[in-house]
């Protein structure tokens, strides 16, 4: 009888324990001018805290080095040297980043172009806050005519120079993605098996959330909250380029931070582009980079640009709020709005 009573009380205790849920550690910080969120599942709190702190510290270092408008950052110093037409010394890892960014820029046919820092500054997006700027068409045209490209850069052992003094590097569309890849490697090395890292909306998954995969909501570009969710399996990354996080409005027009290098003006025919990237050493980087050229491309060009970026999973919300999905992406999305109408992108 006592044995039975003991068994019974043990069962009740276990049941109550199950309600409390498994350990979930969450760390949040503001880096890269945005919100960074690290969720770790199933690790002891001390281990999770140490791992998350180390990742956040790495982010902070990367952010300071690659800051595009703090005058003493490594990138700003490099930009000043390039503008003067000098050959500048460069750290090995920064040289690797610039090489990778150049390759991706070439793949995107120049629609992803980290060399247009001058244009981004002209439009007022190299600031902590985006207040409307006086649009100066002459200056914009001059910056476009100068045609700064990543292929103007010559990166050799420990030094860098540019054929074109108009090249001003801004890794805003690359650094957060790279940071995701670094975070994944770092968390794995720290013995973390399950984690979700979110840098300003770009998310990468490690392992899963208990018995189920990590679940990520995709922000509705014009409403608070998600419009769809997607299961993010181990190693997958998701990234969105939208016109709703960094923009200003002037005379009823919206000017977002995604600038078409061909025209020098912000792209205005798209609200959001989301890409889903399969596991790989560049998954995070691609999740950040690949959505930009697809956002800037015209509706007719999008499929071709996505193919060039080797991206199969694409969701596009155009300027009218119409949704276009690739076949592969359609199979992965769970629309929260059941009456959602979508059209096939490719």
């Amino acid at each position: 009888m006592r044995w039975l009573a003991r068994q019974l009380s043990l069962t009740v205790l276990l049941l109550l324990g199950a309600c409390a849920g498994p350990p979930l550690y969450q760390a949040q910080s503001y880096v890269f001018g945005t919100l960074v969120d690290i969720t770790i599942y199933g690790a002891p709190e001390a281990q999770a805290r140490a791992a998350a702190d180390a990742v956040l510290k790495d982010f902070q270092t990367l952010h300071q080095r690659l800051h595009a408008w703090q005058p003493d950052s490594e990138l700003s110093q490099l930009n000043r040297a390039l503008a003067r037409g000098e050959t500048a010394p460069v750290e090995a890892d920064l040289a690797d980043m610039l090489k990778e960014a150049s390759q991706l820029s070439a793949r995107a046919g120049g629609l992803f172009n980290p060399a247009i820092g001058g244009l981004i500054r002209q439009w007022g997006f190299q600031r902590d806050e985006y207040t409307p700027v006086d649009i100066d068409p002459v200056r914009v045209d001059a910056l476009v005519a100068a045609a700064p490209r990543m292929s103007d850069l010559h990166i050799e052992s420990g030094s860098i120079r540019s054929d074109n003094p108009a090249v001003q590097l801004d890794l805003g569309g690359y650094a957060k993605g790279l940071a995701l890849d670094r975070a994944l490697r770092q968390l794995r090395q720290a013995g973390i098996q399950h984690a979700l890292v979110n840098i300003g909306g770009n998310v990468i998954a490690l392992g899963q959330h208990g018995e189920r995969p990590w679940n990520v909501g995709i922000q509705h570009p014009r409403q608070p909250g998600a419009m769809a969710t997607v299961a993010l399996q181990d190693g997958w990354a998701i990234g969105t380029s939208g016109d709703y996080q960094r923009y200003f409005e002037l005379d009823g027009q919206r000017y977002c931070h995604l600038i078409d290098p061909r025209s020098g003006y912000p792209a205005q025919h798209t609200q959001a582009v989301t890409v889903l990237i399969p596991p790989g050493p560049q998954a995070g980087t691609l999740s950040d980079v690949a959505s930009k050229p697809i956002f800037i491309a015209t509706q007719q060009q999008r499929a071709q640009v996505a193919q060039a970026m080797q991206v199969q999973h694409v969701l596009v919300v155009d300027e009218h709020g119409q949704r276009f999905v690739s076949r592969a992406m359609a199979a992965r999305l769970n629309w929260l709005d059941k009456h959602a109408k979508t059209q096939l992108l490719f």
Partner: protein, 176 residues
């Protein structure tokens, strides 16, 4: 003639009343008679001594069913009541730390100080919003009311975020 018949009818009525009264008194007397008391006392003594001999009486099937039913009821109540309470909470984060986790079921205005200045947040019975922010862009204020679990509003310049918590959160993180 008339008078007698009147009295006779009266007496017969009172007789009926008296007979009923007598029956009631008799049954009461039977119930509380000395012999009944002693009988009951004896049976109670027997039950007591039996209980002393076996402190844990053998539980019958009905007892087990009752126990099981009450256990299930407790679990059910725990599930329903505990969880619906969790679906109505707000988490406010300031910089790297959680500023507060509050019930949404109240009317309250909060003033938080961030790197840019004072941000005003209003909680209004099941919903929350940024009311005033010191930044120029005012994205957070334009987000309007948050009502559903999982919804998030962030004030990047002032480093303050609002998140509605609930057990039935449909995603772990938001891609934006």
């Amino acid at each position: 003639m008339r008078r007698r018949s009147f009295f006779s009818s009266l007496s017969s009525r009172s007789g009926l009343f008296a007979r009923r009264h007598l029956i009631r008194v008799r049954s009461l007397r039977q119930r509380f008679s000395r012999s009944a008391f002693t009988r009951r006392a004896a049976s109670m003594r027997a039950a007591l001594s039996a209980a002393r001999a076996h402190p844990f009486p053998r539980l019958l099937a009905g007892d087990w069913l009752t126990l099981l039913a009450s256990l299930l009821l407790v679990l059910l109540l725990f599930q329903t009541l505990w969880q619906s309470q969790g679906a109505s909470k707000l988490r406010i984060r300031q910089g790297d730390t959680v500023y507060a986790t509050l019930s949404l079921d109240q009317k309250r205005t909060l003033h938080l100080h961030g790197p840019q200045g004072e941000t005003e947040i209003i909680i209004d019975h099941g919903r929350v919003r940024f009311l005033r922010a010191p930044c120029n862009s005012q994205y957070c204020v334009h987000q309007g009311w948050l009502t559903r679990a999982g919804q998030v509003a962030i004030c990047l310049p002032n480093q303050i975020s609002l998140e509605l918590l609930g057990k039935r959160k449909s995603y772990d993180s938001l891609n934006y």
